[in-house]
C-alpha cells in the first residue's frame, strides 16, 4: 500500500491517464463514437466534482502525503488551475463529437485531450523544475499531435508542424534555462531556488550573468507557451490551422499552463531577484497586449482574431509578475478562470458553426443573429466579456487585475506600475473595436436566411461556458475568494 500512498497525490492524473489508455480500445469496441466522448467526460467530470467539493465546499481533502511534497503539491493554487484546465477539457470534449464526426482514430483524439489535461495539471501542481518540465512536455506533445489531428486538412498539418518546431525550440530553451538555474542554485526545487541562488551568487563570481541568461531563456521558453510577444508568432497560425475545439484548448488551457509555470517560477522561485526582471516583464506585458490587439483589429478570420486576442489576454495576465502582490496573483488567477470560460466558449461557438457549415471568416457571421439567435447571443456574451464589459466575467477579472496594478502603483517608488493599468485599459478599449466588429456582423448586417441549428453537445458546452461567463461576472464572490486563497497558497502565507 505504500506505493499507493506515494502515488496518492498523483491519483487524479493516474485516473486520467488510465482512461486515456483505455480510450483507443473503446474506439474499437463502439460504433457510436459519442461513447468515447462520454468516456472522456467521466474522469474529467469526476475530477472536476472532486475539485469543486474540495475548493468550494471543503467536503474532501486531497492526499498530500508521501514523496509528493518534493515533487508535487496539491494546494488551492494548483486546485484552482486544475479546475480551470478540467473545465476547459470538459467544454472541449463536449463540443468535439460533432466536430470530428467522420474522422478516424477518435479514441486517440480523446486520449490526447486527456493527456494534455494531465500534463497541465501536473504543471500546476509541480514544486520541482523536473516535474514542471515533464508536465509541460506531456501537455505540449499531446497538443502537437492534437493540432494535427484533422488529417484531411492541409492547414491542420501545417499548424502541427509549426507548433512542433517552435515548441521544440522553446522546450530546448526552457530546458537549457532550467539547467542553468540548476547550475547556479544547485537544486531544482522551486521554493529553494531563490535562497540557494542567493547563496551561490554571493559565493561565486560571474554567476550573475548566468542567472540573467537563465531568466531570459526561461522567459523565452515559457513566453512561447503563453504566446507573449515576441514569442507569439506561432500562435495565430496554429490556432487557425488546428481543429477548432483544439484551438480552444490551446488558448484557454495550454496557455494557462504557461501562466501557472511562470507564476511558480517567478513568484516563488526567483522572486528575490524581482527588481531585475520586473521592468522587462512589464514592458513585455505591454508589448504583448498591444501587438496582440493591434493585429487582431485587421484580422478577417475569426479564429485568427481570437488567437491574437489570446495573445493580448496573455499580456494582461503577464502584468501580475512585475506587480507581484498576492492581490495581483489573485487577479491573475481570476482572469485565468474567467478567460478559460469565455475564450473556450468563443472557440466552441466557432466550432459549432463550422459543424453547421458556417465558415471561419468574420464575414460569414453576417446576420447570424437571425440565423441562430442563441449562438449569436452566446458569442456576443463571450466577446463582450473578453472586451471587459460589465457585468460579465471578463470585466470582473480584468477589474481585479488592473486594479492590482493601481494598488501597487500607490506604493511609493512603484508608481511606474500605473502604466500597466493604463496600457491594460487602453488595450481593452482597442480590443472592443474588433470584438464589436463581430457583433456588428452578427446583429447589424444582413446575411443568408438559412437557419442554423445548434449542435446538441456543443450547445451544452456553450451553454455551460456562457452561464459561467455571466455568473462569474454578476456574482464572483466565491470564486474570487478561492483565487485569494490560491494566491495565499502560492506565497505560502
Amino acid at each position: 500500500m505504500e506505493v499507493l500512498d506515494v502515488l496518492g497525490a498523483f491519483m487524479p492524473q493516474l485516473l486520467l491517464v488510465l482512461f486515456a489508455l483505455a480510450l483507443p480500445a473503446l474506439d474499437y469496441l463502439f460504433k457510436d463514437k459519442r461513447v468515447l466522448a462520454f468516456a472522456t467526460l467521466a474522469p474529467l467530470v469526476g475530477y472536476a466534482l472532486a475539485l469543486v467539493s474540495w475548493t468550494v465546499g471543503g467536503y474532501w481533502e486531497p492526499p498530500t502525503d508521501g514523496v509528493s511534497p518534493h515533487l508535487i503539491e496539491i494546494d488551492m493554487f494548483s486546485g484552482l488551475f486544475a479546475l480551470a484546465f478540467v473545465s476547459v477539457g470538459i467544454i472541449v470534449v463536449l463540443s468535439s463529437p460533432e466536430f470530428i464526426r467522420g474522422e478516424r482514430n477518435q479514441g486517440e483524439y480523446y486520449a490526447l485531450i486527456l493527456l494534455a489535461v494531465t500534463g497541465m495539471t501536473v504543471v500546476a501542481m509541480s514544486t520541482d523544475l523536473i516535474i514542471l518540465f515533464v508536465g509541460l512536455e506531456i501537455a505540449g506533445i499531446a497538443s502537437f499531435a492534437l493540432s494535427g489531428f484533422s488529417k484531411g486538412e492541409k492547414r491542420s498539418a501545417e499548424a502541427a508542424t509549426k507548433y512542433f518546431i517552435v515548441g521544440g525550440f522553446s522546450s530546448a530553451l526552457t530546458l537549457f534555462a532550467i539547467s542553468l538555474f540548476y547550475g547556479v542554485a544547485g537544486t531544482t526545487e522551486i521554493a529553494a531556488l531563490g535562497p540557494e541562488m542567493s547563496a551561490m551568487l554571493s559565493a561565486v563570481d560571474g554567476t550573475r550573468s548566468v542567472a540573467v541568461m537563465a531568466t531570459v531563456m526561461l522567459i523565452a521558453g515559457l513566453g512561447f507557451k503563453i504566446a507573449a510577444v515576441p514569442f507569439h508568432m506561432w500562435a495565430p497560425d496554429v490556432y487557425e490551422g488546428a481543429p477548432t475545439p483544439i484551438s480552444g484548448l490551446l488558448a484557454a488551457a495550454s496557455k494557462k499552463m504557461g501562466v501557472a509555470a511562470l507564476f511558480k517560477i517567478f513568484l516563488i522561485g526567483i522572486i528575490a531577484t524581482k527588481s531585475d526582471w520586473d521592468v522587462a516583464l512589464g514592458a513585455m506585458a505591454i508589448l504583448t497586449m498591444t501587438v496582440g490587439n493591434v493585429i487582431a483589429v485587421v484580422q478577417t478570420n475569426i479564429k485568427r482574431m481570437l488567437a491574437y486576442s489570446s495573445i493580448a489576454q496573455a499580456g494582461y495576465i503577464l502584468i501580475v509578475l512585475p506587480i507581484g502582490t498576492d492581490y495581483a496573483v489573485a487577479g491573475g488567477l481570476f482572469h485565468v478562470v474567467t478567460h478559460a470560460f469565455m475564450k473556450s466558449g468563443a472557440f466552441m461557438v466557432v466550432a459549432a458553426l463550422v459543424v453547421r457549415g458556417v465558415g471561419e471568416s468574420i464575414d460569414d457571421y453576417r446576420g447570424l443573429a437571425k440565423r441562430s439567435p442563441l449562438l449569436a447571443l452566446a458569442m456576443t456574451l463571450f466577446l463582450l466579456s473578453l472586451a471587459g464589459i460589465p457585468p460579465l466575467a471578463g470585466f470582473a477579472s480584468k477589474f481585479v487585475l488592473f486594479s492590482s496594478a493601481v494598488d501597487a502603483a500607490l506604493v511609493p517608488g512603484q508608481s511606474w506600475l500605473i502604466w500597466l493599468a493604463v496600457a491594460g485599459v487602453l488595450n481593452s478599449a482597442l480590443s472592443l473595436y474588433y470584438y464589436a466588429r463581430v457583433i456588428k456582423r452578427m446583429y447589424m448586417e444582413k446575411g443568408s436566411d438559412d437557419k442554423v441549428s445548434v449542435p446538441r453537445m456543443a450547445g451544452t458546452a456553450i451553454l455551460f461556458a456562457s452561464v459561467m461567463t455571466v455568473l462569474l461576472g454578476v456574482y464572483f464572490d466565491a470564486v474570487f475568494d478561492l483565487c485569494q486563497q490560491a494566491a495565499a497558497a502560492l506565497f505560502g502565507t
Binding site: V166, S209, A220, G223, P230, D237, D276, A296, V297
Partner: protein, 653 residues
Amino acid sequence: MLEYAWLIPVFPFAAFILISILPKRTLSWEDGAGYAIGGALGAFALSMLVIWDVIAGNTMVGDGPKFEWLVIGDISVVFGIWIDELTAIMLVVVSVVGTLVVFYSGGYMHGEGERRRRYYAEITLFISVMYGLVISDSYLQMFIFWELVGLCSYLLIGFWYEKPSAASAAKRAFIVTRVGDIMFMAGIIILFKYVGSLDFATLFDGGAGAAVPTDMMVLATALIFGGAIGKSAQFPLHEWLPDAMEGPTTVSALIHAATMVKAGVYLTARSYPLLVQAPESLMLVAVIGGVTALIAATVALVATDIKRVLAYSTISQLGYMTLALGAGGYLVVYAGSGAGYSAALLHLMNHAFFKALLFLCAGSVIHAVGTNDMRFMGGLGKKMRITSLTMLFGAIAISGIPPFSGFWSKDEVLAAVYSAGEFDSLFFLLWAMGIATAFMTAFYMFRMWFMTFAGDPRSDYQAHESPRLMTVPLIILAALAFSSGFALFIGDGFGMFAEHSIGSLFHGAHHGSAMDLLAGIFGDPLTYVSLVLAAAGILVAYAVYGKPGFDRSVFAKGVGGALQRALENRWYISKFYDDFAVKVVYGLSLVADAFDRYVIDGMVNGFAFLGTKSGEILRRAQSGNVQRYASLIVVGLCLLLIFMLYIVPWGGW
C-alpha cells in the same frame, strides 16, 4: 385694490390659453377675437382701478403679495408686484393702446382666415406679458417678461412666415434685441453679486446701493441701459425696428410703437435710483438718445414705405425720451430737479398715443390700398376722411404744434436738455441735435401725410374707408393724441410721477400752478425756436410734396446724392450688420466646423487609422515561415538580455 394688481396679466393670459387650446368650433367670432377682447377689457378695467388707486396716492412698493421663484442656499429669488406712479403711466399706455388695438384687429385681421386664431393667441400673450413686465418688482422678474415680450414680438413680426422677408425680420429682431438682453442680464448679475438681491425694494434703498463699488455701478447701469438700447431700438441696435414692420400693422402699433419698445425707456426710468449714482452712465444714456434721435430722423426723411417712416420716427422719438432721461439724471444729480425725468415720461405716454394712432391709420391705409409704398399712394384724403383726419392729428401731435400733446412733452424734453448744459456743455450739442430732429420730424411726418392723402392717386386702387371697428379706435386715439399732453398740468408739471417714483432723490419738477407753467414755457425763447423749426418743416414738406410740380431730382445731385444714397441705405448700418453676421460670424462658424471635422475629429480618426494601419504593418511580419518565428524568438531573447543587463540593470543580486 393694489394687491390684486397681479391679476391684470391673468386676464389676457387666460384668453391666450383659451384661444390656444379650445377646439376650433367653440372659438367664437373671428376665431378668438372675442376672447382677446374680453381678456384685454378685463385687464383694462383692472388697470383703471389700479391707476385710480395710484392717483389717490397709494403705492405698493415691495410690500405686496410674493411668489418664491427659487431658493438656493441663502439666495432667494422672490417675485411680486410693484405699483407706483411710473407703473401707472405704463399701465395707462398698455391698457389703452392694447385694448384699442385688439378692437381694431377685429376689423383689420378679418381677411386672415384660419390664422386669426394664432394672431389672437399671440397678441393676448403679448398683452399679458407686457403687463407682467410693467408690474414687476425685481430686475429678474422684469427680465423674464422682457424676454417674453421679445418672444411675442418675434412671433408677431413673423406672422406671415411664408414671406421670406418676414421670417428673416422676425429672426433679426429677436437676435438684435437679444444682444441688448445679454447686456441687461450681465448688468443685473453684477447687481446680484454685490447686493444679493434683485428686488427693486432692496436695490433702490440707498444703503444697498452703497454696497456696489462705483465702477461696478457704472458698468451695471450701463449694461442695464444696454438692454434698453436693444429693446427701445437705440443706436446702434436700432435697425431691427424698421425691419419689424414686416408684421401686421396692428402689431407695429401696439408692440413696435406704443408698448414694447417703450420698455427700454421704462427700464431706464425705473433704474433711475441707480443711474443717478453713475453719472457716466447718464451721459451715455443722453448721448445714445441724442444720436439715435438724429440718425433715425434722417433716414425717415427718405423712406418710402409708410410703415418704415413711422418706424424710424418711433426710433427717433424713443431717442428723445432717452435723451431726456440722460439729461434729467444730470438735473437730478446737480440741481435736484426732476424736469427731464418727468418730460421723458410725459413724452413716453404722448408718443404711445399718437404713434399708435399713426400706425393704425397707416394700417387703415394699407388695408385699403394693399401696399406699403407711399410712392403708389396719394389722393386718399377724399376717400378716407376719418383716416386722413385722424392721421393729421397724429402728425401734428408728433411735430410739436401746440396745443397738441407732442408739443408739451417735446418742449419739456428740449428744455431739460438745454438746462442740463449748465452742468456739461455736451448737452448743448445734444440739444442742437434735438432741435434739428424736431425740424426733420415735422418734415417727414408731413411728407408722409402729403404723399399719402394729398394730390392724385399714383396707382390703381379702390380705396374705401375702413369699417367702424377700425375707425372708432382711431378716433379715440386721435382724441388722446390731442389731449394727453395736458397731463403736464397734473401734479407739479407731471412731476408728481417722477417725485414718487424715485422718491427721495429730488422734489417736483415745477412748483406752481398751471399758469406758472404756461408762463414758463411760453416765456422761454427756446420754445419759439423749436416751434419755428417745426413750422418750417411742415412748410418745406408742403412745398416739396404737398404741392404738385416740385422737381425732386435736385436732391439726387452732388453731395446731396451721396447723402441720399447713404440715407436710403440707412447709413449702411444694416449692411454692416448683415456683413458681420454673414461674413464674420457665419464665416467663423464655417472655420470652426472645418476645424472640428478635420483637426479635432481628424485626430480621433487619425488614432483609429494609426491603430489599423499599424495592425496592417505588424501583420505582415507574420510571414508564415516558421523559421522566421523561431528567429524572432532568438531576437527577442537577445533584446531581453540586453535590456536586463544594460538598460534597466537595477541590481539586486
